[in-house]
């Protein structure tokens, strides 16, 4: 059966690690990384496959670093 799934792409070097996206994500897909980026911030990253592509993280992101994809996959 085809399922609608989402995916996010975080612009790691632009992320400032404010964690607002974590509070906005309904499926707990985002968490902060252990590594830091070039500016020394922990950045947002995907930690499971539950993303539905709802765009909540992207529209609250103050720096607009998240690109959201949504499409059908067959499982």
């Amino acid at each position: 059966m085809a399922k609608i799934k989402g995916d996010i792409l975080v612009n790691v070097e632009r992320c400032k690690g404010c964690e607002v996206c974590i509070a906005a994500c309904p499926s707990s897909t985002i968490a902060m990384s252990k590594e830091v980026n070039g500016k020394g911030y922990h950045f947002a990253m995907k930690v499971n496959n539950d993303c539905t592509g709802c765009m909540n993280c992207a529209i609250v992101c103050p720096d607009g670093v998240i690109t959201v994809y949504r499409g059908k996959i067959s499982e």
Partner: protein, 270 residues
């Protein structure tokens, strides 16, 4: 670093449902992590892109944290003297009535040094949009007390909390100008959760569309956080804002189509 949980079958260009708008210049924003300015910048640019008026829009940037707004917005912008953005916008709109004009101001700019310009521009009923970011503090200069600072709120110039006996009461400038006849649309929004962001975007769209009809000022207040000035993390400051700012600055439309909205929730929360 290897990126985990990548869905390569979904991550294709035709599946993009949301990406940062090209009207924001491709450079890092100068704001602190979690600051509401970035969201409002992006919403404004997205709205201009949707309305396809980016080449007919002139913005006026203020003095404050967003003084460099013209570095990030890829449209025509002018920088105004501190607080004088409504005066400059008046001139622009009168000289080019077919252009869309907005001012983007903070609380130190609009409600402190620029009170006279704001009130008189609103009273004259000039036909532009004011976007007012209210975070209750002077963020850029180091978190000093602003006219909009809440009673009892700590800042670097009111370290024991704002005492209304000696420091005066907070200024609700949005309610103040909503009583002026030249003002057509007044609303107060926030940008800390997805639903609030969507509402704010609708309000910005409505305010810009209204300029086509030349009916008067559209005024959007965005209650925002200032996590650096409030000395909190971004998520904590959003929570603090919900608990403390919103009872004093209730969200919602205050004036629509030139008529004051008599909303139950506005009066109850206040």
């Amino acid at each position: 670093m290897e990126e985990p949980f990548v869905k390569t079958e979904i991550r294709k260009d035709e599946n993009i449902v949301y990406k940062r708008t090209d009207l924001l210049v491709d450079r890092p924003l100068s704001y602190c992590p979690g600051c509401g300015h970035g969201v409002v910048h992006r919403l404004l640019m997205e709205t201009l892109e949707e309305m396809d008026i980016q080449d007919k829009t002139i913005g006026v940037s203020p003095v404050g944290c967003s003084v460099l707004a013209y570095d990030f917005m890829n449209i025509d912008m002018l920088g105004a003297a501190h607080g004088r953005a409504p005066a400059l916008a008046t001139a622009i709109k009168r000289l080019w009535p077919d252009r869309f004009v907005f001012t983007y101001q903070g609380d130190g700019d609009l409600a402190a040094i620029g009170t006279a310009e704001t009130i008189h521009a609103c009273n004259r009923g000039e036909n532009f949009t004011i976007i007012f970011i209210n975070n209750g503090i002077y963020g850029m200069t180091g978190g000093q007390m602003a006219p909009t600072t809440l009673p009892g709120m700590r800042s670097s110039t009111s370290p024991y909390g704002r005492d209304v006996q000696t420091m005066g009461h907070p200024l609700k400038i949005t309610e103040l100008i909503s009583n002026l006849p030249g003002v057509h649309y007044v609303t107060r929004q926030a940008v800390h959760t997805p639903s609030h962001v969507r509402k704010t975007k609708k309000a910005i769209r409505k305010a810009l569309e209204q300029q086509k009809e030349s009916k008067g000022i559209a005024f959007i207040e965005v209650v925002s956080n200032c996590n650096s000035g409030w000395k909190m993390t971004p998520v904590q400051s959003n929570k603090w804002m919900e608990e403390n700012m919103f009872p004093f600055y209730p969200l919602g439309d205050i004036k629509v189509d030139g008529k004051l909205v008599e909303k139950k929730e506005v009066t109850e929360k206040a």
